[in-house]
């Protein structure tokens, strides 16, 4: 259940970024999770529910954007969506392929209510 440690890393970063940006109450955190990231969205969400309320307001929302896996063939350049984790180029069938999307856990944006300028703190 490494989702818990990833969520903790995420929350530490959010606190730092919001503080550096002038502070405020965190209302929403948008995160991209790739299908090949090794993250189970349900476990990530439950870890967030548990940990986020310790440092942010009760109504701070997590918005997860689940991203499919895409790859590019290094031999023929074909870009394709990986189905059933088969990393074989559908065009030439031979080339090594590189994952270009889908293995990330990415903090995309943070929505902050700055009416109450208490740096990243619980309201």
């Amino acid at each position: 259940m490494h989702e818990r440690s990833l969520v903790q890393t995420l929350l530490n970063q959010v606190q730092q970024i919001v503080a550096d940006d002038g502070g405020g109450v965190v209302k929403e955190i948008q995160v991209q999770v790739g299908d090949l990231s090794g993250v189970e969205p349900i476990l990530f969400e439950s870890a967030f529910t548990e940990l986020a309320t310790e440092c942010f307001s009760q109504d701070c929302r997590l918005v997860l954007d689940i991203v499919p896996v895409k790859a590019e063939c290094r031999l023929c350049g074909q870009c394709f969506e990986v189905q059933d984790y088969e990393f074989l180029c559908p065009a030439c069938g031979t080339g090594p392929v590189e994952v270009i999307q889908g293995d990330q856990v990415k903090l995309m944006s943070i929505t902050v209510d700055s009416e109450n300028l208490v740096s990243g703190a619980k309201s």
Partner: protein
């Protein structure tokens, strides 16, 4: 109410990945190939390391960092053969770089040829953590079924080699090396596939030769080990 959106667009593990890359560079420069060994519990990581240590005795230097949730039983098995440090996670399902760095310090940061990290037995979480390894090796034993690659794709996608262990049990279990290889190569076509049996030493020489080749490819051809200066 004044609401604003802060755009970030950053990998949340970017800092950890940068730390791992710096540690990998440091260890590579002074001539150490780091191998992260991953598998289910009981697939034979410790036995493979014992056989490797016996094979290289007096010819190649190696050290082992042993990750376990509890106990130091595996470390006790290896200690008579090679320098070893125990990394006890206290229940956590994977190792992270700071724990590996503490283990290295406990060993006195030895300039060995091969540093093995015996990860916690788990095919899920360890796949998401870079431990500064130059080589990621996944083990799969003949007793655990040949359908694992498709079930744990990230682990096999991010590995450079797969070792099928407990080869001696093949006549007794419904396991096909062809099937597991085909399954794994769909996920990682560049995967090196090896077989071994730590009890009768089958495949150990090939495994050690594979590691020597990786050493030449990733260390000797990239860095200038301190001993060569």
């Amino acid at each position: 109410m004044n609401t604003r959106v802060i755009s970030v667009r950053r990998d949340i593990q970017a800092e950890q990945k940068a730390d791992a890359a710096a540690e990998r560079e440091r260890l590579g420069r002074r001539g150490t190939l780091v191998i992260n060994l991953l598998s289910s519990p009981g697939s034979g990581k410790t036995s493979l390391l014992e056989a490797t240590a016996r094979h290289w005795a007096g010819r190649r230097s190696m050290a082992v960092l042993v990750g376990d949730l509890e106990t130091d039983r595996d470390a006790q098995r290896l200690a008579p053969l090679v320098p070893v440090a125990q990394l006890t996670t206290g229940g956590a399902c994977h190792l992270e770089l700071p724990l590996v760095q503490r283990g290295l310090q406990a060993l006195g940061d030895p300039a060995v040829d091969f540093l093995f990290i015996e990860n916690v037995g788990n095919l899920v979480c360890p796949a998401s953590h870079d431990l500064a390894e130059h080589l990621r090796v996944v083990l799969i034993s003949t007793t655990e079924g040949d359908d694992k690659p498709g079930k744990y794709p990230k682990m096999f996608r991010t590995s450079q080699a797969m070792v099928v262990t407990k080869q001696d049990l093949l006549p007794h279990v419904p396991f096909s090396i062809e099937a597991v290889t085909e399954d794994a190569l769909k996920i990682q076509p560049a995967l090196n596939v090896l077989t071994s049996c730590a009890i009768d030493n089958r495949g150990i020489q090939e495994w050690c030769e594979f590691l020597e080749q990786q050493y030449q490819k990733k260390i000797e051809s990239v860095y200038e080990p301190a001993g060569n200066r």
